[in-house]
């Protein structure tokens, strides 16, 4: 189903995506964040791009979204941290990250040489910690947007616990809004009764855009050892299994608020991405599909373009919210 036209170099048998250059207007604007095409990676699946730059020219992406970073280093949860589920995977990484200072000195500095817009994903255990990161990073002109991750299912305080309460979420977003003029994206969790309530609270608090979804909570058990397959017992699900949940959340949120959305969840092909755009997303992020196919981001870009060519769509923006129902 993936809309690639990978060409196998006969000499080397290495897969190098070769794409046509037919014209479709692919650029989108996420509340001031200008993306040359609607595709970024999903935070935490792509680190700061360095590893995948072995397979993908980062400058071809609409933006690179970094792994969430906190004010101090976090070591995350103990292994095992990842397991397979039907049509997806489940993880309890717990936002292991080197802390904002080490990130800035290291992989972020590298990424800033790559000629691609940067979305810095921000994690925290408390409002103060989120503020700390935004404050520290705000003077970095190479960062185009902050994505506030109030939706990680794998940490005990902050993260999802903040993102499931509209008051708490609002407080947090208002606090970081006051600190920055960069595009402020808030990443939402699907683990709520009504995602539009949180979405509205975040927009009211000053969010410029929303990204969704982070991982639905789940659990996997090994019947033979009688143990959970993840150290933290529960984890966050990702991959095609969660795509219908994500599409629905994007659609509901699209109807409820008036800011651009970044659609995330199980996207592995251009057609998947188009579905998210029809449901109301302005851009999309590719997550665990990268693990399966290291060129997934490029394949999604080309798949969208191919769909537009086939369907006579000259501007990708015409897809946004174009669902007929």
């Amino acid at each position: 189903m993936v809309q690639t036209k990978n060409q196998v170099n006969q000499d080397t048998q290495t897969i190098e995506p070769q794409y046509s250059s037919t014209q479709v207007q692919m650029a989108v604007d996420v509340a001031g964040l200008h993306m040359k095409n609607p595709v970024t990676d999903a935070a935490g699946t792509f680190a700061a791009g360095r590893e995948y730059s072995q397979f993908v020219s980062l400058e071809k992406l609409g933006a690179v979204t970094t792994k969430s970073v906190a004010s101090e280093p976090w070591e995350g949860n103990v292994p095992p941290r990842i397991a397979e589920i039907d049509s997806g995977c489940i993880n309890c990484i717990g936002v292991q990250n080197p802390g904002m200072k080490a990130l800035r000195a290291g992989d972020l500095a590298w990424l800033e040489t790559q000629n691609v817009p940067i979305i810095l994903s921000v994690a925290g255990h408390s409002v103060d910690e989120y503020k700390g990161v935004v404050e520290y990073m705000n003077d970095d002109d190479k960062i185009n947007a902050f994505e506030i991750n109030i939706s990680c299912p794998n940490i005990s305080t902050g993260g999802m616990s903040l993102g499931t309460d509209p008051n708490e979420a609002g407080k947090c977003i208002r606090a970081v809004r006051d600190l920055t003029n960069k595009t402020l994206i808030v990443k939402l969790t699907p683990n709520v009764t009504d995602i539009t309530v949180i979405a509205k609270a975040c927009v009211d608090a000053g969010a410029d855009a929303l990204s969704l979804i982070n991982s639905p909570k789940g659990m996997v058990i090994d019947a033979y050892t009688r143990k959970p397959k993840l150290s933290r017992v529960e984890g966050g699900m990702s991959g095609p299994a969660v795509k219908p949940i994500a599409l629905r959340d994007v659609w509901e949120t699209h109807k409820a608020v008036d800011v651009p959305l970044i659609g995330i969840g199980g996207i592995r092909s251009g057609i998947d991405a188009v579905e998210f755009m029809l449901a109301g997303a302005t851009a999309v992020a590719v997550g665990s599909a990268n693990f399966v196919n290291p060129h997934a981001t490029l394949d999604v870009i080309e798949g969208i373009k191919q769909y537009c060519i086939d369907q006579g769509v000259s501007d990708v923006n015409d897809l946004i919210g174009g669902l007929i129902c």
């Binding site: 196998v8 080397t12 048998q13 290495t14 897969i15 935490g44 699946t45 792509f46 680190a47 590893e51 995948y52 072995q54 397979f55 792994k67 070591e75 995350g76 103990v78 292994p79 095992p80 941290r81 990842i82 397991a83 397979e84 039907d86 049509s87 997806g88 995977c89 993880n91 990484i93 292991q96 991959g239 095609p240 665990s288 990268n290 693990f291 399966v292 196919n293 290291p294 060129h295």
Partner: protein, 266 residues
Amino acid sequence: MTEEKRPKLVNEVALLVDNRNVGGSWHVATLHAPRIARTCLPGQFVHLRIPGMTEHMLRRPFTIFDADTTRGDIDFLYGIQGFGTDHLSKLEPGAAFECEGPTGNGWSVPEDIKSALLVGDGTGTAALYLLAKQLIKNDVKVHLVMGGRTKHTIMDTARKFDDLLDGPVDVCTTNGTFGFSGDCTERAGDLLKDHSFDYIACSGPRAITSKVADLAKQANTPCQVWLGSHMGCGVGACLGCVTDTTRGRVRVCVDGPIFDAEEVIW
């Protein structure tokens, strides 16, 4: 091995050339993967997208057992463990894999050593073959201890090492059907009482590698171990595969899978 000196990581289309049962549930698969075969280092692995199992989405990692640089083929040795390896065992020559590799750091043998003890358990022994080859080439005297459950499964692999090392290797089976009766750490312990080595390398489950690390410490011998882990990306991006070391919580896929025994927090 610093990342900069490593062979380039590629994702190549690899065709299955052979997929033979070598006893019990063990199989040796041969993939035509020339870029990887010609550059890989001992101890590195491939991260395979096995065709025909899309709902089992993740790639599967396998150690490069042997590499034929002329043909451009790599071998890996695997046991049937779950869905993926079972499915893999049924694939026929011609099946096309997306094959990422060569991945990981590989063994770092100290310079100027004269003798090495290699201890392998189960399919983990595969990680020692290219190492043994390299050591022999460098005139290092290699002693291999290989452990497994039954004669049936390990015979073929033991013979391959016999051929390479030009003499019978030390084989141990926990059910006593072949060689020493017991696990490979017992045999390694016995050996270390009477002999000294300049380097010890061990590959197998954590229960084995941790014991060998202990033995090496007692014998005051430099030791490296191979560590496994459940993997997501296999390229260092997802932080799914970490293990605790004195350097912190590091990634097995690119900071390993080979670690100095001393830095591992067991």
